[in-house]
Amino acid sequence: MEIDRPLPNPMTPEAKPYWDGLREQKLMLPRCNACGHVFWYPRVACPKCHARDIGWVQSKGRGTLHSFEIGHQSFNKAFKVPVPYVLAMVELAEGPRMLSNLINVEPDPKKLKCDIPVEVVFQKLTDEVTLPLFQPAGR
């Protein structure tokens, strides 16, 4: 299958457990071992209590559509997903927000609403790279 998106570049060392997890269909999130704060994106210190002791937890993969847009053109030559498509900010049940796409949905602003429940769908791009996309929950 042709790769229809830019591959993540660079893939940084502090994010390795995240990318490793995705290959096994697991959405892993960094979690501070000192204060328990689950955060996004991967960093070597906790953005809340600034401790340097970071572990990882598996997300349940559920959350809400915090905000969205409908893309009517591609903004990157390597992004070849057909228009229109849904650009999404998802708020995970564990707390952090991440950017992704909402798929398996009609890309019509009249039919979408902030705060609807969503769930993760894993999309394998290469042997190295699997991305977490989202769809309306309970499909």
């Binding site: 830019p6 591959l7 905000s67 893309g71 999404a88």
Partner: protein, 384 residues
Amino acid sequence: MPNLRDLSSVACIVGVDESDEMGTLPHKSQLSLHVEAVTNAVRDAGLKMSDVDGIFTAGQHSPATIGEALGITPRYVDGTTVGGCSFIIMVGHAVAALHHGLCDVAVISHGESGRSQVGVSPRRDTAIPGQYEAPYGFGPAPTMFGLITTRHMHQYGTTLEQWAQVAVSTRKWAALNPKALRREPITVDDVLKARPVVWPFTVLNICLVTDAGGAVVLTRADRARDLAKKPVYVRGLGEGTEHVSLTQMKDLTFSEATRISGDKAFRMAGVGPSDFQHIMLYDAFTSGPPIMLESLGIAKRGEGVRFFEEGRSTPGGSLPINTNGGGLSYTHTGMYGIFPIIEAARQLRGECGARQVPNLRTSLVNGMGGMLSAAGTLVLSNER
């Protein structure tokens, strides 16, 4: 204890200007746009290039590059680059440097070949956008600011028609500015029916992309009074940053950086949010200015758009906003922040002809960097 008020009105804007031309300039490099703007602004101040000993610039070129191109050897440099508002923030940095004698004549320089890309270095992915944004189709600013805009609509019931009023109001000002790129009148319907780019934005909700330069010259207040033009006092200044990645912004509908920068500037100047007769806001998108008014405490949460839909912001209105025609209709190179300073200074000097705001004493300049990520605020006045 240091007192913020000690910095109020110690320095003035004494020279402002743009590059010789603005618009689509494939025959000019980015560096030439800097040099043209600085030359013009120094002449506007009635100073010589050799008087300049402080260089401030943001973006791809370092202050050392600008100094070399101008043929001067500065003894103070600042290259703070936190997005388009960097130039607004640098007015504050220049005031502090001038106050302490670190330099005597400060130039803030902007040049950007945003449209033609002449003499521009290619962008490289960095860890965060390359890893967590680009694979989903996120990239240029509209793909981010739309998320802020959609959430505001969800939380406050703001409508596409209301955002469009910002474009309509700003275009009315552009019609009065001979330097504005787009001057033909537009309606709310024109904005709604324009080419969709990324919902909730059509192309008329998004700023222009142009080639231009701009520069601002400052010196201490005692010297300013003897120069060519009426001095514009920097009564208050403030800056702040909250985030870079939009996922790290606490509340998508409210800019903490803007609030912090405004609070500091207002306290220094001894003014409140309702003490302005003229406002310049960074309008990369139609939804920006209303959210900035809300974050500065000038409008209640969710009500910033009312300044535009009720006609207060337009020519003849009670609170003129973006009187140069803004990034939406006058010019927007990419890092727009120098241009609202230039317009506020010209308004306070009374040089604006058909678009002149009458009886103006105090003007507010506020701009963002990134996606409301950083902010700079200035309280400018033609009286001390």
